[in-house]
């Protein structure tokens, strides 16, 4: 598979009165054409800032400090703002958690959708209208032509999110970034939206970056998973390996802290104790060390390197347990230490 997106050593900080918040601190990953990649992690770990950095939409006092974001070979970090505006919406578009904050409450769905279409493509009004209906049908909104005259508040949460997806797709982007697209929706609606994204991916060949803290949602949609912690990627690999043979204690922690609906017996949940660190002053060494059951002396002193595991070149992890001299972790059950 050819890489559509290639992110290297991306660094984004916020320069607050209290100091530099290193929200994204040296992130590397690829997204292939037609692939869905998930970014998971607790809130505050840098998922949204990573996404906004790709689009260069970091608000003050934030700044992309370093790195490259190559989309089909072109480094977006180096583009002029005018060129970047063309990339947003044409090549990459975004779907946010709360459709209500990104839709204009006083404009009809039709007006907003047609505006989005005409902003990026020079088409006549009636052509734009036809395209708008077409996109609403694509996201399976019933009686699409009637919806054009409706206002956002007249739609249910699920329908609004479909409209947002329609807007994101209206110009046939190569990549759609979905930032917690189902978090504020009911599970039944969440299932509908995830099915929709799956169908659209197949139908259009677009790539998806799915940002979520819901490990279940990821399992059904993504082919690769990025686990982020405190501004860094701690584990990255094919979805089957991240769930089947995860290697990082933080990934273990995420998997153990949620009950599975199909569990045959009750097992006490294993929380990750404490809190994610303040990114103004992240811990020295491995950033996860204050919460890690396996932390060793070196973990508190030096940052672990990002090393390949499982010998297929696909799965990487940043943890000192991978060092040949580290003690072996025992007692695995279903891929995680019990």
């Amino acid at each position: 598979m050819d890489n559509l997106l290639r992110v290297r050593d991306l660094k984004t900080s916020f320069f607050t009165y209290a100091g530099e918040v290193r929200a994204v601190d040296g992130v590397n990953f690829d997204v292939a054409g037609g692939e869905a990649v998930a970014i998971v992690g607790e809130s505050g770990c840098g998922k949204s800032v990573t996404a906004m950095s790709l689009l260069r939409l970091i608000p003050e006092p934030g700044k992309v400090l370093a790195g490259s974001v190559e989309l089909a070979g072109r480094d977006l970090v180096k583009l002029k703002e005018r060129e970047m505006r063309h990339v947003r919406g044409n090549d990459i578009s975004m779907v946010f958690q709360d459709p209500m904050t990104s839709l204009n409450p006083v404009l009809t769905i039709g007006t907003q959708l047609m505006e989005a279409i005409r902003q990026h493509q020079k088409v006549e009004k009636d052509k734009a209208r036809a395209r708008a209906i077409e996109t609403l049908e694509m996201v399976k909104i019933p009686s699409a032509d009637k919806r054009l005259a409706q206002y956002p508040h007249q739609l249910s949460g699920g329908m609004r999110q479909r409209v947002m997806i329609a807007m994101a797709l209206s110009c046939h982007p190569k990549l759609v970034i979905c930032d917690e697209p189902t978090t504020s929706l009911d599970v039944t609606i969440q299932a509908q939206i995830i099915e929709l994204l799956k169908d659209l991916k197949k139908a259009t060949g677009m790539s998806i970056i799915l940002i979520t803290h819901n490990l279940g949602v990821v399992a059904g949609l993504a082919t690769r998973v990025i686990v982020m912690y405190a501004g860094k990627i701690v584990e990255y690999g094919p979805v089957n390996e991240i769930y089947g043979i995860p290697q990082h204690p933080y990934t273990w922690g995420l998997l153990r802290s949620v009950p599975r609906l199909d569990a045959a017996e009750k097992r006490r949940l294993v929380p990750i104790y404490g809190q994610p660190p303040d990114l103004l002053k992240p811990p020295v060494g491995c950033r996860f060390n204050p919460r890690c059951d396996h932390a060793m002396k070196i973990c508190r002193e030096q940052e672990p390197p990002f090393v390949p595991v499982n010998g297929n070149g696909q799965h990487h992890v940043a943890c000192w347990l991978q060092h040949p001299a580290a003690p072996a972790v025992a007692g695995f059950k279903k891929g995680v230490p019990a």
Binding site: S156, I194, A219, S257
Partner: protein, 332 residues
């Protein structure tokens, strides 16, 4: 845990034909007299045994919070009965109700909104002690420290303010407060929905430990069916103001009977790609109808795959299909 009414003990809470309708001004009418009603909770009955956890799940707007608040008598019911520890609470005069209220506590989804930002954590936790005149002076202080430690906070936290705490810690503050008056029944309304998964596990484990230690009874309201199954002995599924199915959690998962339950279960993602690949989703079409004019007969019939003409004529009752597994459906 037994299959029937949960624990072998007797019911601590018995809810009978509870209804809570809210008036809404009908559109276009300028006279106050005519009202339409939001049928938020429409004739539901259930029991919770002492020491048991009953889970209550359903999509947003189906009436879960209204059940919780009406059972706690924070709302007066439209009709029906709640018997708590042998007393029919809606018949109690104010003075006696105050004594019972001590025993019934509620914790909420948004711990921040429910904590007064201008009060110290100590005073927030101590407020029920003052209201019910349970402790004064040094005894009050000691009790506050003890409550904070019970929920995994420390006594140093007593002099701080809510905004200085994380979401999970605030939920613990709410929990400490709800424990202050020594309750026997706690209604947990989406207590973990706003928290990160790792923090959810901390709060859920704490709730389980407290239940074991203090013999607490819970009504645990949430939309996350996996978590509800994990924490509950029995699970009740609500749809548009009605309980459509109620059973032991494992039984409900293994043998769901109501078509709504089946759809709801199939929508819950399982964190395992190999399992997810094999799963078949039952996608419910459309949205939940308005509770102002719910469909006639079975409320679910407009979205039901199995609906027959009979379903629009008469409401199905919740009937026992064996071992306490109750279902309200004409077909299933």
């Amino acid at each position: 845990m037994s299959g029937g009414n949960g624990h072998n003990g007797q019911a601590l809470v018995r809810v009978e034909h509870l209804k809570k309708w809210f008036p809404v001004a009908a559109a276009g009418l300028s006279f106050g007299a005519s009202h339409e009603w939001v049928q938020a909770v429409d004739d539901i009955s259930f029991e919770i045994a002492k020491g048991e956890t009953l889970g209550l799940v359903g999509e947003s707007g189906c009436g879960k919070t209204t059940v919780g608040r009406t059972v706690a008598r924070l709302y007066e019911p439209t009709s029906g009965k709640v018997v708590f520890d042998g007393q029919s609470i809606y018949d109690l005069p104010a003075e006696e109700m105050r004594r019972v209220r001590r025993k019934i506590q509620m914790i909420f989804q948004d711990p921040y909104a429910s904590l007064n930002p201008r009060m110290t954590v100590g005073d927030i936790v101590g407020e029920p002690l003052d209201i019910h005149g349970l402790a004064k002076g040094d005894a009050r202080k000691e009790r506050i420290y003890q409550l904070l430690e019970t929920v995994g906070l420390s006594r140093e936290h007593a002099s701080r303010f809510p905004h200085e705490f994380s979401g999970g810690q605030r939920q613990r503050i709410g929990l400490a407060r709800s424990l202050a008056a020594d309750p026997s029944f706690i209604i947990c309304d989406e207590p973990i929905s706003a928290l990160d998964v790792s923090i959810q596990a901390q709060v859920v484990n704490k709730l389980q430990d407290l239940q074991e230690k203090m013999g607490l009874t819970y009504l645990f309201i949430a939309h996350d069916l996996a978590m509800v199954k994990h924490i509950s002995n029995r699970v009740a599924v609500m749809y548009l103001g009605k309980i459509v199915e109620i059973a032991d959690g494992f039984e409900l998962y293994a043998h769901p009977s109501h078509p709504y339950t089946t759809a709801l279960l199939s929508a819950i993602p399982i964190p395992d790609p190999t399992v997810e690949e094999e799963r078949r989703r039952i996608i419910l079409e459309g949205d939940v109808p308005s509770p102002i004019n719910p469909p006639s007969g079975c409320h679910f019939r407009t979205r039901c795959r199995l609906a027959k003409p009979a379903c629009s004529e008469k409401e199905p009752e919740l009937t026992d299909r064996g071992a306490g597994h109750k279902v309200a459906c004409w077909v299933a």
